[in-house]
Amino acid sequence: MSGLALLHSVVPASWAILLAVTLFAIGACGVLLRRNAIIVFASIEMMMNAANVLFVAMADSWDHAAGRIFVFFVIVVAAAEAAVGLGIVLALYRLHGTVDIDRASLMRG
């Protein structure tokens, strides 16, 4: 029995899904409830990694490589997004002297 097969037998797919959903929910709550741009940013990362967990779990469960490949895409995009996002946060800080995203409401109708 390989390591993976062992894992399968011990950890059912539903656990992985539950983990992904929990992570996603925590991330979503972080995005919606926190005002600190850095925390919000981290929460977004958490939501993406929740998706990654789900990808990997399902790829394993269905024995399909596409899920694993997607994970790499997500990691690459997340890296690029982190660069851009941190740039925005920096710019926001320079503008307002704070990273409270509720202060950045110039587009208010």
Binding site: A28, V31, L32, L33, V40, I101, D102, S105, L106, G109
Partner: protein, 670 residues
């Protein structure tokens, strides 16, 4: 040749109008006079050249291109260009009419000359020319000389189009054109208060008539599928099942409403006396000789339509009689020279409608022509008097002018003699022919003799008020204001007066009565215009002796009126005042002009105003409320919706999340 000449007739005054309208401001009075009178004079020559062959019957049937000469109908029709091509396949089948006739309808801009329009154009250009000559002197001391003649030339052009148009729509163009000129010329003294209002009144009252004319025209179009005379009238004449139907009566009634407005018939007569606010030559040309007779022309032109509705024809005669008597009685108490003549015009127009109502179309046209002569002369004479008196028109401040104005006095004497219906001047013959026409009509005996008696009473009143005017103005002791020095008018004014006086005197030769044994020229000329084949209003023969007897009765009646006026106003001038004092109610009734202005005002003007007030309230309370509510609710909605764009990223993120969750749950639960 005939075709070219025909086109030139209305074109000449139109050219005059264009020249004066464009360059008149920079032209001297002499140049304006030359252009204005010149084009009308040339138009008269052209009218003479084209009318004479038609009237004398020297035509040969021929069709060449757009020109159709019909010797039997003694008509020349020239279709100048396609004016209203209403159908995609126009000209396909002229015979087809019915529900799809509009696909074939095409109305050309064409001129139509037949004995009726020939007589009309001669009167319009002939009398018009004389009045232009007179006006060129009369108006020379007024401002806006060129403006006056611009309007006058336009008027003549429009009047010629009215009578020469080959179809009802073209007649309507002229009809509205003369209405416009009438409005402009009544309000010529626009700096004063009254004339513009009088012009407006004329225009609005005419509008009522025009609506009737337009509707009548549309009914004819729907029924017969054409509005070209040469096409329409034979169709009406051929439709025996049409005669006497409600449709025929309605069509004739609507056309007559148009005629009532233009020709100032009761109860639409109220504008004409007010129209005297315009310059006197305008009153002579438009409100006596030509435009106001357009209604009579319309009825004669559409005589087949009226013959198809005998009941309506009888109503025309009755309306004419009512108008004639009412206006004549009002004229008895007027003291303004021009107002007397205005009511006299209304009354004489009533006579013409009596004639055309009983089917004596030639008599109506005859009276139209003689009336154009003597009434134009009377107005121009009145202008000459007011010229001499420094603008005064109140007859109570005249008297004894015969010595100071010998020429005006004599021409006025001739005109008064003519209009009073005393032998043997023109008015006698035309009025006599109308009376004979009433007697020889096939109306019920009682109605016929009632109309005859009424017309005779009208003749008595006419003779009375005209001689009252004459004696109050020219005879008796001078009652002039201080500082008035009457003087005879210059030759430019008296020459047209004398020519018109000559015409008023001998105009009767156009229609000598049958008992004279002479040939009735106008009656014979008009034969092809009047449709005898479907004549519902027949003619009864009358013995020459009876006719002469009736004529003698008419002479006695007219002479009584004239002598009565002479007695009351020249010999016993205290009698009228005592008569007025003895009959205060009657005097008030006549002075108040039967309160027609007030009655119409109460019935129509006030009801219209209250309706418009109601509409205004509805507009403010309902329409405006709705409009404001829609604007207000849009604002409210925007106020509500602006909360959606809070600008807070977290709110948007919540939206994205909820949306995504909704989409996913939809996909899963579907």
């Amino acid at each position: 040749m005939q075709a070219v000449m025909l086109g030139v007739i209305p074109l000449l005054p139109a050219i005059g109008f264009a020249i004066l309208g464009l360059f008149g401001r920079r032209m001297s009075n002499g140049q304006v006079r030359l252009v204005a009178c010149g084009v009308i004079g040339l138009a008269f020559v052209a009218a003479l050249l084209s009318a004479l062959p038609v009237l004398l019957g020297r035509l040969e049937s021929a069709t060449s291109g757009a020109v159709v000469v019909n010797a039997a109908a003694r008509s020349v029709e020239v279709s100048l260009w396609e004016w209203l091509p209403l159908g995609a396949r126009h000209g396909a089948s002229p015979e087809l009419h019915g529900e799809r006739f509009l696909e074939h309808l095409s109305i050309p801009f064409g001129l139509y000359l037949d004995p009726l329009s020939a007589v009309m154009i001669l009167v319009i250009t002939g009398v018009g020319f004389l009045i232009h000559i007179y006006a060129s002197e009369y108006m020379s001391h007024e401002g806006g000389y060129w403006r006056f003649f611009t309007y006058m030339n336009l008027f003549v052009a429009m009047m010629l189009i009215l009578v020469l148009g080959s179809s009802f729509p073209l007649m309507f163009v002229g009809w509205e054109g003369v209405g416009l000129c009438s409005y402009l010329l009544i309000g010529f003294y626009y700096q004063q208060e009254v004339p513009p209002q009088a012009g407006l009144k004329a225009f609005l009252v005419n509008r009522i008539g025009d609506a009737g004319f337009l509707l009548g025209m549309l009914l004819l179009l729907l029924t017969f599928g054409s509005l070209r005379y040469a096409e329409l009238f034979p169709r009406v004449a051929g439709a025996s099942e049409y005669v006497g139907t409600g449709l025929a009566v309605a069509t004739a009634a609507l056309l007559f409403v148009g005629a009532m407005g233009k020709s100032a018939q009761f109860p639409l007569h109220v504008w004409l006396p007010d129209a005297m606010a315009g310059p006197t030559p305008v009153s002579a040309l438009i409100h006596a000789a030509t435009m106001v007779t357009a209604g009579v022309y319309l009825v004669i032109r559409a005589n087949i339509v009226f013959q198809a509705a005998p009941e309506m024809s009888a109503i025309v005669a009755v309306v004419g009689l009512v108008t004639a008597l009412m206006a004549a009685s009002i004229a008895l108490v007027q003291t303004d020279l021009k107002k007397v003549l205005a009511y006299s015009t209304v009354s004489q127009l009533g006579y013409m409608f009596i004639a055309v109502g009983v089917g004596a179309y030639a008599a109506g046209l005859f009276h139209l022509v003689t009336h154009a002569f003597f009434k134009a002369l009377l107005f121009l004479g009145a202008g000459s008097v007011s010229h001499a008196m420094g603008g005064e028109l109140d007859m109570r401040k005249m008297g004894g002018l015969a010595k100071k104005l010998p020429q005006t006095r004599w021409v006025m004497a001739i005109a008064t003699w003519a209009i009073a219906g005393l032998p043997v001047l023109s008015g006698f013959w035309s009025k006599d022919e109308i009376l004979t026409g009433v007697v020889t009509s096939t109306l019920p005996q009682a109605m016929k003799w009632a109309i005859w008696g009424g017309a005779l009473l009208g003749a008595l009143l006419t003779a009375f008020y005209m001689y009252r005017l004459y004696f109050m103005t020219f005879r008796g002791e001078p009652r002039w204001d201080e500082g008035v020095h009457p003087h005879e008018s210059p030759a430019m004014m008296t020459l047209p007066l004398w020519i018109l006086a000559l015409l008023s005197a001998v105009g009767g030769v156009l229609g000598l009565a049958a008992w004279t044994g002479a040939r009735n020229i106008l009656h014979h000329a008009l034969e092809p215009v009047v449709f005898p084949g479907t004549m519902v209003l027949g003619r009864e023969a009358l013995e020459h002796g009876t006719e002469l007897g009736l004529a003698i009765v008419a002479i006695v009646v007219a002479a009584t009126g004239a002598l009565g006026a002479m007695f009351f106003y020249a010999r016993r001038s205290d009698v009228p005042a005592r008569a007025a004092a003895a009959l205060p109610r009657l005097r008030e009734l006549l002075r108040g002009k039967y309160w027609m202005d007030e009655i119409l005002g109460a019935l129509f003007v006030r009801s219209t105003l209250s309706l418009s007030a109601l509409a205004a309230r509805f507009d403010r309370k309902v329409i405006d409320f709705g409009v404001e509510m829609s604007g207000f609710s849009a604002g409210l909605l925007g106020e509500a919706l602006r909360n959606l764009t809070s600008g807070r990223v977290r709110t948007y993120a919540l939206g994205v999340l909820v949306g995504a969750a909704a989409v996913v749950s939809w996909m899963v639960l579907r």
